[in-house]
Amino acid sequence: MSAASTTPNLASLAPSIVADRRRIPTAWAAYALLAPSAVFLLTFTYWPVVQVLFGSLTVKGFQGAAHWGVDNFARLFADPHFAHAVRNNLVYAAGTIVPSLVLALGFAVGLSETTRLSSALRTAIAMPMLIPLVAAASLFVFIFLPNAGLLDHYLAYFGIAETNWLGDPSVALGSIVAITVWKNTGYYMLFFLAGLAGIPQDLLDAAKIDGANAIQRFLRITLPLLGPTCSFVLIIALLNVLTQVDHVIVMTQGGPSDATSMLLFYIYQQAHQNYDVGLASAATVVSVGFLFALSVVSLRSLERGIHHEV
């Protein structure tokens, strides 16, 4: 900042003095520039984590008295609804991440050459990522409608009988998985397309000349070079699994009989419907723990990943 008051002459004559005079004010100027962001991060990201830790360890007594303890966690881990939510979330993670990543990679490889057809197909596959998850849910409410709905209407041509896609506990989570795969695959495809564009064509040509067939070229060259993209997409997919339950809220309310409940839905339910802040806080701590572990493992590769895409 003080360099601003230095005359041009002096600056060109003695750059080292200017640098020295700037050093300490530079730090303060930097902190001032970071301050607006820091205020919001402190209020809505760091402080809430502290707050929720305290909240989860605060046990409310009967006459408004409160003391420290792990009762909330004891209640949480004893709650069969919570166990359901965690189990469903794991099934949901595997059920959405594996197919959407495989499909996304497949679409990207199949559509990596730009022709009029392939760009139209890419658009069709990418479009679901732009609509709200609740809008997707509104469409799929009809698609999954038993008997009269779109899916049953067309499956009837193949002699497949009516299914209660959202009402049958053994099918409902699969239906929620299907919506998520439909919605997110196009998003992941974009990253694979960007990753594929970064693979030098002469590498593939050289392998072709050396007699490697398409499958060998894919397994030995394309896939290893897509490694950073894969881990980047995987991290985003894991994040989505923990942070997106809009369709569950709109379509099933976690039911039937907890079949589609998930960790964040459980938190929402405890906070919004049961007003059990202690339980909601304890569940949030579990969730934050997962995300924190994920961050420690992935922040560097995430940074590299974003870098890589540029």
């Binding site: 809505f44 984590v49 732009l130 609509i131 998850l133 961050s295």
Partner: protein
């Protein structure tokens, strides 16, 4: 050579399958309500067509209000974010100060600890700040954006340092340099950030649902959820399709029109 026909066919079939929900939305929303009971599930674009469903949806939901709230939310938030991320992005890109790397990683933590996870504590913060049930309250947790800071840092780093050194020597302050010299050059970065920010907040549901309670502060997604629940009870599928179209259309149209820009913004990012 059979395989050269097989793959395009398979890919086309898969993409058509992917588009089916949108095809249904288009066909069902245009089909007048009376015919609904019979063939509402048919994807064949057979007439008669009409705009009755759009009229019904528009009059039974508060779409003008929801649009207004959503535009105010996305626009106001973006304006604040542009300030916070530009300043912080510049500091991380160009200045040296104690604790820079640690602070940068502390900022990046927000990529993971996203506001939907922290609804319980953030709600009590909103209440304490008297921001509950206001659009400002919905926007508040996003006013700082780790993704935006990262993106602007990368963008500023690609700009030659010579410009700002010249301006510094000419007596400009850092703020003047950021606003008048660097931001005009960083416009591609800001545009990419704007697209990602508007898309994610236009589409967000859980946090606005929790942070608001009165009908006057509802955004499109929250409105659509209650609208769908109402129309579902009456089996008005054509009306639901029309209402969903109102919510989804602006971004879909923007995407098709500016596809290249959208795709490069999203792949730059990955994180909202």
């Amino acid at each position: 050579m059979r395989s050269s026909r097989f793959w395009p066919l398979l890919l086309t079939a898969a993409a058509v399958l992917w588009a089916v929900p949108f095809l249904w939305m288009a066909v069902a929303s245009m089909r007048p309500g009376g015919a609904g009971a019979v063939d509402i599930a048919s994807l064949l674009p057979a007439g008669p067509f009409g705009l009755d469903n759009f009229r019904d949806a528009w009059s039974s939901g508060h779409f003008p209000l929801w649009y207004l709230n959503t535009v105010l939310l996305c626009g106001g938030l973006l304006a604040v974010q542009c300030v916070t991320v530009s300043l912080a992005g510049y500091a991380f890109a160009r200045m040296r100060f104690p604790g820079r790397d640690a602070l940068f990683y502390a900022f990046l933590l927000q990529l993971m600890l996203v506001p939907p996870i922290l609804i319980v504590p953030n709600l009590s913060t909103l209440v304490a700040l008297h921001l509950y049930d206001t659009l400002a309250g919905v926007a508040a947790p996003y006013c700082a954006s780790a993704f935006g800071v990262f993106l602007m840092r990368q963008t500023f780093r690609t700009l030659p340092a010579a410009y700002e050194e010249a301006a510094l020597v000419d007596g400009a302050s850092r703020l003047q340099i950021i606003v008048h010299v660097l931001l005009p050059l960083a416009r591609p970065g800001l545009t990419a950030f704007a697209i990602v920010s508007v898309t994610s907040h236009w589409n967000e549901f859980l946090w606005p649902l929790m942070a608001t309670s009165s009908p006057s502060t509802q955004v499109l997604t929250v409105g659509l959820a209650s609208f769908t629940a109402g129309a579902e009870a009456g089996s008005e599928w054509g009306v639901i399709a029309a209402g969903t179209f109102f919510v989804a259309a602006p971004l879909l149209i923007a995407f098709v029109a500016f596809q290249r820009q959208f795709v490069s913004s999203f792949t730059f990012s990955g994180i909202k």
